[in-house]
């Protein structure tokens, strides 16, 4: 089977302006959404707070749960159905995390017991994070990401050239902003595992980009007289089949994970899916064109052999 014909010669480089506009628009929407929402919708991992996951034995009205929470002065907590409706599972989230971290989940349990009867529900998960730990985790997450970028910048500069590294890293920043933006637009919760997903996206997207770079490097050596724009375009075309196929297999497994992995892992898989799609796009339309844009702004006098 052959999806991408070998003689394909799509003019990717000619579409740079369109691609940059699309990306810029997506980034603007993402940033705008983040501004409107006042930053990402931080889960308790980062904001601190309490999360309780309860599974009721029978179908339960969300309003009844809500009113029993209001009875103990927790009316402002977020109640969310978790997973499929027939699971009768709810997440109760509150920003409250006093010094006395152990108290809150107990109060929730007691209140539910008196409203629905003891044993009519099961507390399946309790997470309590103090505000101090939340801040530290956020700092650590950002640090890890920045360090990963620097490490890649160094590695790609060493294996290729500095401008390639810059192109690759900018593409990564692009991927991360858009993924975070999608989460913000959908008002999805931003948790620890989402940061893990972002770091994975970084790893995946750069992998994709490197494959294209590698081909550019090879073609530059093979045809040193050819214009860079042409070399880049033919390199993207030559690796297109691989780029599409690999992304396809990864998307296949992510869809399996999304549909069969359960609610706990859903957001994680979702973030990866968005990231892989955006990452594949950026490897083609962002990373290499940036190298080209750099070349046009400041032509390298003599390209290295």
């Amino acid at each position: 089977m052959e999806w991408i014909k070998p003689n394909i010669n799509f003019d990717f480089v000619g579409k740079i302006k369109i691609a940059f506009s699309v990306s810029l628009a997506a980034i603007l929407v993402s940033i705008l959404s983040l501004i409107i929402h006042g930053g990402p919708n931080y889960g308790i991992d980062f904001a601190g707070g309490t999360l309780v996951q309860v599974k009721f034995q029978k179908g339960t009205d969300a309003d009844k749960v809500r009113s029993s929470l209001a009875a103990i002065g927790m009316g402002d907590s977020v109640l969310q159905e978790f997973g499929a409706r027939e699971n009768n599972e709810y997440l109760i989230r509150t920003a409250e995390s006093s010094d006395d971290l152990k108290g809150l989940s107990e109060r929730i349990e007691e209140s539910l017991s008196s409203a629905f009867g003891k044993g009519s529900f099961e507390v399946r998960r309790v997470e309590v994070v103090g505000p101090k730990v939340g801040r530290e985790l956020a700092e650590k997450g950002i640090l890890a990401m920045v360090l990963a970028w620097i490490a890649m910048l160094a590695y790609i500069s060493w294996r290729f050239e500095f401008r390639y590294a810059v192109g690759g890293i900018l593409a990564l920043v692009h991927d991360i902003i858009i993924t975070v933006g999608v989460f913000s637009v959908l008002n999805k919760e931003f948790t620890l595992v989402i940061v893990a997903a972002l770091l994975t996206i970084i790893g995946y997207s750069i992998n994709d980009t490197i494959v294209v770079y590698d081909r550019i490097r090879e073609n530059v050596r093979k045809y040193p007289k050819q214009a860079l724009a042409e070399t880049i375009n033919s390199s993207i075309n030559q690796t297109l089949s691989r780029t599409i196929l690999t992304s396809f297999t990864v998307v296949l497994v992510l869809i399996a994970l999304l549909f069969f992995g359960g609610a706990v892992i859903f957001d994680f898989s979702f973030a990866l899916l968005i990231g892989v799609i955006v990452g594949t796009y950026s490897s083609i339309f962002i990373a290499s064109p940036i190298v080209l844009a750099w070349e046009r702004a400041r032509p390298a006098k003599k390209r290295k052999k």
């Binding site: 089977m1 052959e2 070998p6 971290l101 152990k102 107990e106 507390v123 399946r124 998960r125 309790v126 997470e127 309590v128 103090g130 101090k132 730990v133 985790l137 997450g141 640090l143 890890a144 360090l147 990963a148 490490a151 890649m152 590695y155 790609i156 294996r159 620890l192 595992v193 940061v195 893990a196 770091l199 994975t200 970084i202 790893g203 995946y204 750069i206 992998n207 994709d208 490197i210 494959v211 590698d214 090879e218 030559q238 089949s241 691989r242 196929l245 690999t246 297999t249 998307v251 296949l252 497994v253 992510l254 399996a256 994970l257 069969f260 992995g261 359960g262 706990v264 892992i265 898989s269």
Partner: protein, 533 residues
């Protein structure tokens, strides 16, 4: 690379067998005894999110720990000075980390310094001044010892918590210090998280203090607390209604005896009302002190204070020798049992605070395992079918590599007793998708080479050779990301970083080395004219 197919086959088989060897104990739970001894005991550990359990991060209050250390120094210093017959006044802790005292005669200064250097290497004189023929000395902990003392408080806390958890009965708990003043606690399979937190987080500082019956409690509650006194809260249980009410006591601040001198603590049930209480017995020194305290204060009330809360304040009816006492109060049997545990395990050197608590119930863990396995199988099938459809026989070869890859990931994890978490399972699934990438790269390259009119053998050689550097460069960068992920993550996320990293490294071996053997075999030995690719 290796020219000899037989040698390469042997290496591949050996790696595969080693992987299987480590993996078998993890996937075959009930090995017959005769086989069991053949294998290592090492297994893949399940993370708390899969087997259920509780993850806690506690913070030791370093300042309080320092205060109580200084308190102890002050008390010991008193005794040392008395033993040497040096006259002094007002030994006390001032601030969080200073001890001050007045030497009655300036001549004793040199002898005092001798005691200091002999018995208290941690302390040094911060300042001293002569006031009215008395010498006021302020002591502080030597700068370089401050960290060590803090460290010691942390280690003692870890030790105490470990003792408590052991008595509570948790299999394979993990209790380790983290950073300057934190303790990470992992309790797999815990049934009653509430109780566990109470048990672990209790300082359990048991103190005996006299009630101040001369001054008015009412006055004190209005804010006029006499010097040398403290106001303490207590709880009273109404036996008829079962309701708990709060009440206050005015206590002498001085602690007469602490739980440090306990020999044992046990739950007993009283004969009269059938209510639980904790029987305690002091060690030799404690019994002696208790004997003295009770004989000196017959007729007065002695408060039993646990973590600042008065449990009871019985009247001392007579001198008590033998060092046995009871803590009665307002407990359920379970509370009494936990109190006995914490008293036996000893007090924490300072209060601890829960910074983070994550509990996963066992049913959710099992759910996650089931769904994780399901998703892995489906993801695997989708990829395997796709590869065969797209690359035909060559796809089959790539699938062998993927299967081997999974065996190697799990085998390596078992060998290092790494922890598998739910995101870790996701990592394996992701690796399945990414592992075929190396083969896709090779196959696409081989197809390109075939199009230029090369023979199968030459095309395969060129495909592998040219794709190799690409695979290396792209995987190194992914591995870099995984490394930072590992550094960043806690528990479940770390598990993901582990499977991802192992998977990437293993995929280089399976997708490049192993598949090449198969292709070379057909190209060299069978001299095939066309490749099914």
């Amino acid at each position: 690379m290796f020219q000899d197919i037989r040698l390469r086959t042997l290496i591949a088989l050996a790696v595969c067998l080693v992987g299987l060897y480590f993996l078998i104990p993890s996937i075959v739970p009930n090995l017959p005894d005769s086989l069991k001894n053949l294998f290592m005991k090492r297994k893949i550990q399940l993370g708390l999110d899969l087997q259920g359990g509780m993850h806690l991060i506690m913070e030791v209050d370093s300042q309080k720990a320092m205060e109580s250390t200084m308190e102890r120094f002050a008390n010991n210093l008193k005794e040392s000075l008395m033993a040497r017959k040096i006259k002094f006044r007002n030994v006390e802790r001032t601030g969080d980390s200073l001890v001050s005292l007045d030497l009655s005669a300036t001549e004793t200064r040199s002898e005092f310094e001798k005691i200091l250097s002999e018995q208290y290497p941690d302390l040094e004189v911060k300042s001293s001044e002569v006031v009215e023929s008395r010498e006021r000395v302020v002591l502080k902990v030597k700068d370089k010892r401050v960290d060590e003392l803090r460290r010691a408080a942390l280690e003692q806390s870890v030790e105490t918590i470990r003792n408590r958890v052991d008595q509570f009965g948790v299999t394979e708990p993990e209790i380790v210090p983290q950073g300057d003043n934190r303790i990470l606690i992992q309790l797999p399979g815990i049934k009653d998280p509430k109780r566990a937190v109470n048990l672990i987080g209790k300082t359990a500082l048991l103190e005996f203090k006299l009630l101040d019956e001369e001054n008015s409690l009412e006055q004190a509650m209005r804010g006029n607390i006499p010097t040398g006194d403290i106001l303490a809260r207590g709880v009273r249980l109404d036996e008829r209604t079962g309701q708990r009410t709060e009440l206050y006591y005015l206590l002498k601040e001085k602690t007469l005896l602490t739980g440090q001198n306990l020999e044992y603590a046990q739950v007993k049930i009283s004969d009269r009302f059938g209510e639980p209480y904790v029987a305690i017995k002091f060690d030799a020194q404690g019994a002696k002190d208790f004997d003295r305290i009770t004989s000196e204060n017959v007729g007065r009330r002695l408060a039993i204070v646990l973590d600042g809360v008065v449990h009871s304040a019985p009247v001392i009816k007579e001198r008590i020798s033998g060092g046995e006492a009871q803590i009665t109060g307002t407990f359920t049997t379970e509370e009494a049992r936990d109190l006995a545990i914490v008293l036996r395990a000893g007090a924490l050197p300072a209060p601890v605070k829960v910074l983070e608590q994550r509990t996963v119930g066992p049913s959710l863990g099992q759910d996650s395992i089931d769904k994780g396995i399901m998703a892995t199988l489906i993801g695997f099938l989708l990829v395997v079918v796709f590869m065969v459809v797209y690359y035909r026989l060559s796809g089959l070869v790539a699938n062998v590599a993927v299967l081997l890859n999974i065996i190697l990931i799990l085998g390596t994890m078992a060998a290092f007793q790494a922890t598998l978490t739910l995101p870790g399972i996701a990592g394996i699934i992701l690796v399945i998708g990414m592992a075929v990438d190396a083969n896709v790269l090779i196959f696409e390259r081989t197809r390109e080479e075939l199009r230029t009119g090369k023979t199968p053998r030459a095309a395969i050689d060129a495909g592998y050779d040219k794709a190799f550097l690409t695979i290396l460069d792209s995987n190194v960068t992914t591995l870099l990301a995984a490394m930072f992920l590992f550094q960043f993550g806690t528990g479940p996320v770390k598990g993901f970083a582990v499977t991802l990293s192992v998977g990437i490294v293993a995929s280089m071996f399976t997708a490049i080395f192993v598949t090449r053997i198969i292709f070379d075999y057909f190209a060299w030995k069978r001299k095939i004219k066309t490749i099914s690719i």
